[in-house]
């Protein structure tokens, strides 16, 4: 039980003398979506970068990160099996849609035909059948977002990090794409960490909320204890 999911133990991030993330401990259960909220510049994205292993070395950071009971904090990013979606879809412009997806697909799926078949099935699932040979730049924002999600999911991650991935979409698309992402995350029982400053996102995630304050005071909040042992300083649960 405790070994499942994604858990952070005393994860902190500093930039020079400024504390961005004071020691943070929490567990995200499989299929659960925990939301991290806070003003811009508070270090939310740095937290995700730390979990991924791609944090810029100018930051000072530490703490343990466990995924399915295994400590991954010292592994290189590519061996952590953590998928991430950014605000920009970051589809590679030098590849077609299908090539972008094939890039995500593990090499264990061998043979050009088998790989192509997997890609086509995946496209069909998100209503993009027949888009494989298109140049990503010819797709709409919503379509590109879905391809980016597929690419991440095809790489078979064990956890999902969402770095404001809905921020660029207009309101209507946003709700729809959010539902797609959350459905897939829950369907695959992925522990998911969502960074956002949109309360609607947090509501849709329907999970615990970690709020990061920009101050570097004691950070202890009276509510912290009430939410159980999984969440500690400096967070609180929104009502």
């Amino acid at each position: 039980m405790t070994a499942d999911g994604l858990s952070l133990e005393g994860v902190f991030i500093r930039l020079d003398d400024r504390v961005l993330i004071p020691p943070l401990t929490c567990t995200v259960a499989p299929g659960e979506v925990t939301t991290v909220m806070g003003p811009s510049g508070c270090g939310k994205s740095s937290l995700l970068a730390f979990i991924c292993g791609t944090l810029d070395p100018t930051f000072t950071a530490g703490g343990r990160v466990r995924l399915g009971g295994v400590d991954i904090a010292d592994l290189p990013p590519e061996r952590r099996r953590i998928g991430i979606l950014f605000q920009d879809d970051l589809l590679f412009p030098h590849m077609t849609v299908a090539e972008n997806l094939a890039f995500g697909l593990p090499a264990a799926v061998a043979g050009q035909r088998a790989r192509r078949a997997r890609v086509e099935t995946a496209l069909l699932e998100v209503g993009l059948a027949g888009f494989g040979d298109r140049d990503p730049s010819t797709l709409s924002g919503g379509q590109r977002a879905r391809v980016a999600l597929l690419r991440t999911l095809l790489s078979e991650p064990q956890a999902l990090l969402l770095d404001e991935p809905f921020g660029r979409l207009d309101l209507r698309l946003r709700a729809r794409f959010r539902r797609t992402v959350l459905d897939h995350a829950r369907g695959r029982r992925l522990p998911t960490l969502l960074v956002t400053h949109d309360p609607d996102d947090a509501a849709a995630a329907a999970g615990p909320i970690i709020e990061i304050a920009i101050s570097e005071g004691d950070g202890l909040d009276s509510d912290a204890g009430a939410t159980g042992p999984s969440i500690a300083v400096p967070l609180r649960r929104l009502p």
Binding site: P76, E78, R81, F86, D88, T152
Partner: protein, 582 residues
């Protein structure tokens, strides 16, 4: 909702008021093209005609294939071609492979960031100075052998081996690689600023790719189009280099470029027709080599697509990381040791084999040559400063014109800028000299500055274009809305904000000029000596201590503007400052 609309209307209003009465600025791009393309076209023509026997001034009035017949029957030609191709292509391939392997394996490491800071000064050192230092290093009685002798090699006298000017041209190849790798590395770094490298890598790694494979699959395919022209410039340069070949390649027979230079200077005037044909042949070789490279790009590109879509995650790349990092370190050490060798020789009085350091030191040579060196420094500096200032003026004029009239420079425009770097110098400098003689400009200051400008301008333009275009246009817009004219905006807003890139571009231009050998020789008609022409000339036979002295001063002078004008010549912050020295 309103802001976008408002912005559009502001821009519209600016465009309406901002278009000034017909001004001089509009003429700048045309003038720039005329300044640096016309001489190349005319020069090529001026070489092409004698290549087919027509040059009345030398008594050639009949068009025919005689020069070609003589060229193809020349006994030195086969060996010269072989040397040129092996050293030129070998150096190009090696440089590109080293740079790509190093970037793939070491991006983001501390070694990489340290090297970044070394690049601009490394590039500012003229090719000739590096070649002279390398010769001191690699020669049978050079520093390397001394470090190992006699305790390891048993050589109590310098070995009888051709380690410099070797028949295979290996010393020349090494010399070229030492200079081309920093150049390509800087161009790759500059291009990295325009591609979302960090984000692409983060995505690739979160999808399970190793740092090296991720870079090769997700970043390189997008970087490559931006370093393609610099690579072509490296190919053209390596196949046609003169000064380095004179210093490091064998003399009997030499590679094609020095052979042509010898023919151009032959007292028998008929040989010059043959030389002109050879210069055209050199141009054809460069064109064929670039075309072959392009073909290889297409084939490798196809294969790469399959490789990328195959989804292989790659290993840690540890072996390649060590090999590439080691090679780069070796090259940097070679360059620095070459400089150190120059410096040591300049203050040595007695330095017998196999002593590792001079046994007697003296500053006498510095005093003895001070007057001569002073004059050379003055000529070199005046020439470099004039050419760099002209180039800055033209470049700023072009860029400002482009911005005021909302023009976009296409890919083809970039090819035009690169033309002087892609066409072998010899193939148009000879024709240009013929034209200068005709116009009575040969051996004059104007012709000399002009010939340097051809090579200075592209580098100054390439250094300045990015920072200029990247400057947030809202500063200019708000200044205009405060009532400033576009000229006032240029002088009071843009130029001061671009102070550092402008100074860096000047330093780049100055260094490019200081390194020129062939243009000074041809356009100066022997009446102007610079540190570079003098150092190369001395290297043919003078005292090592004098050669070292001249090579040292030659390397220090181009560094001066970097030290004075740009305290911290960092790539990222300045856009692309020294990106294009050679």
């Amino acid at each position: 909702m309103a802001p976008p609309l408002r912005q559009v209307s502001v821009r519209g209003a600016l465009a309406a008021h901002g278009r000034p009465q017909p001004d001089l600025l509009k003429a700048v791009p045309a003038l720039t093209l005329a300044v640096f393309l016309a001489p190349i076209v005319a020069g090529l023509l001026g070489t092409l005609l004698p290549a087919f026997g027509y040059l009345p001034a030398l008594g050639g009035t009949e068009i025919g294939l005689d020069p070609w017949r003589r060229l193809l029957l020349a006994p030195e030609l086969p060996a010269a071609l072989r040397l040129t191709l092996t050293s030129g292509l070998g150096a190009s391939v090696a440089s590109v492979v080293i740079v790509i392997a190093f970037c793939a394996a070491a991006h983001g490491t501390r070694l990489f960031r340290t090297l970044e800071r070394l690049l601009a000064p490394l590039l500012a050192i003229p090719h000739a100075a590096v070649a002279i230092g390398l010769a001191f290093l690699l020669a049978p009685s050079g520093w390397l052998v001394r470090l190992l002798s006699p305790w390891a090699t048993g050589w109590t006298t310098p070995p009888d081996l051709a380690t410099v000017q070797d028949p295979l041209g290996l010393a020349l190849t090494v010399g070229l690689v030492v200079k081309e790798v920093p150049y390509l590395l800087l161009m790759t770094l500059a291009a990295s600023g325009q591609v979302e490298v960090k984000e692409s890598l983060a995505i690739a790694r979160s999808l399970g790719y190793g740092s090296m494979t991720g870079w090769l699959k997700a970043v390189l395919p997008r970087l490559y189009p931006q370093i393609r022209l610099p690579i072509y410039a490296v190919i053209a340069y390596s196949l046609s280099v003169v000064d380095m070949a004179l210093l490091l390649a064998p003399a009997t027979p030499p590679p094609l470029a020095p052979l042509l230079l010898r023919w151009f200077n032959d007292p028998d005037l008929a040989t010059r027709f043959c030389a002109a044909a050879g210069a055209i042949l050199q141009l054809l070789i460069v064109i064929a080599a670039i075309a072959a490279w392009r073909g290889a790009e297409v084939v490798l590109g196809r294969l790469a697509r399959v490789w990328i879509a195959g989804g292989g995650r790659g290993g840690s790349g540890q072996a390649i990381r060590i090999a590439a990092g080691g090679t780069i370190l070796l090259l940097v050490v070679l360059a620095l040791a070459a400089l150190a060798a120059n410096a040591l020789w300049s203050v040595a009085e007695r330095w017998r084999y196999p002593a590792i350091l001079p046994t007697e030191w003296a500053l006498a040579r510095w005093q003895h040559h001070a007057g001569e060196l002073g004059a050379l420094v003055w000529t070199t500096a005046a020439l470099g400063a004039t050419a760099a200032l002209c180039a800055l003026g033209l470049t700023l004029g072009c860029l400002e014109n482009e911005q005021r009239h909302g023009l976009h420079v296409s890919n083809r425009g970039l090819w035009l800028i690169y033309t002087p770097l892609l066409v072998p110098q010899m193939s148009f400098l000879f024709g240009l000299q013929v034209l200068l003689v005709g116009a009575g400009l040969d051996g004059g200051w104007i012709g000399l500055v002009w010939s340097h400008l051809l090579f200075v301008l592209p580098y100054v333009f390439l250094s300045l274009a990015d920072p200029f275009r990247r400057l947030d246009e809202r500063y200019a817009r708000s200044a205009r809305c405060l009532g400033a004219s576009s000229n006032r905006v240029f002088w009071r807003i843009k130029l001061p904000m671009l102070r550092r890139p402008v100074l860096a571009a000047f330093a780049v231009g100055f260094a490019v000029s200081a390194a020129q050998y062939l243009p000074t020789l041809f356009a100066g008609a022997g009446r102007f000596a610079t540190l570079t022409t003098e150092a190369v000339g001395l290297a043919a036979g003078a005292d090592r201590r004098v050669i070292g002295l001249y090579a040292l001063v030659q390397s220090l002078l181009p560094l001066l503007p970097f030290v004075l004008a740009v305290p911290v010549p960092r790539v990222r912050r300045l856009g692309r400052p020294a990106q294009a020295l050679r």
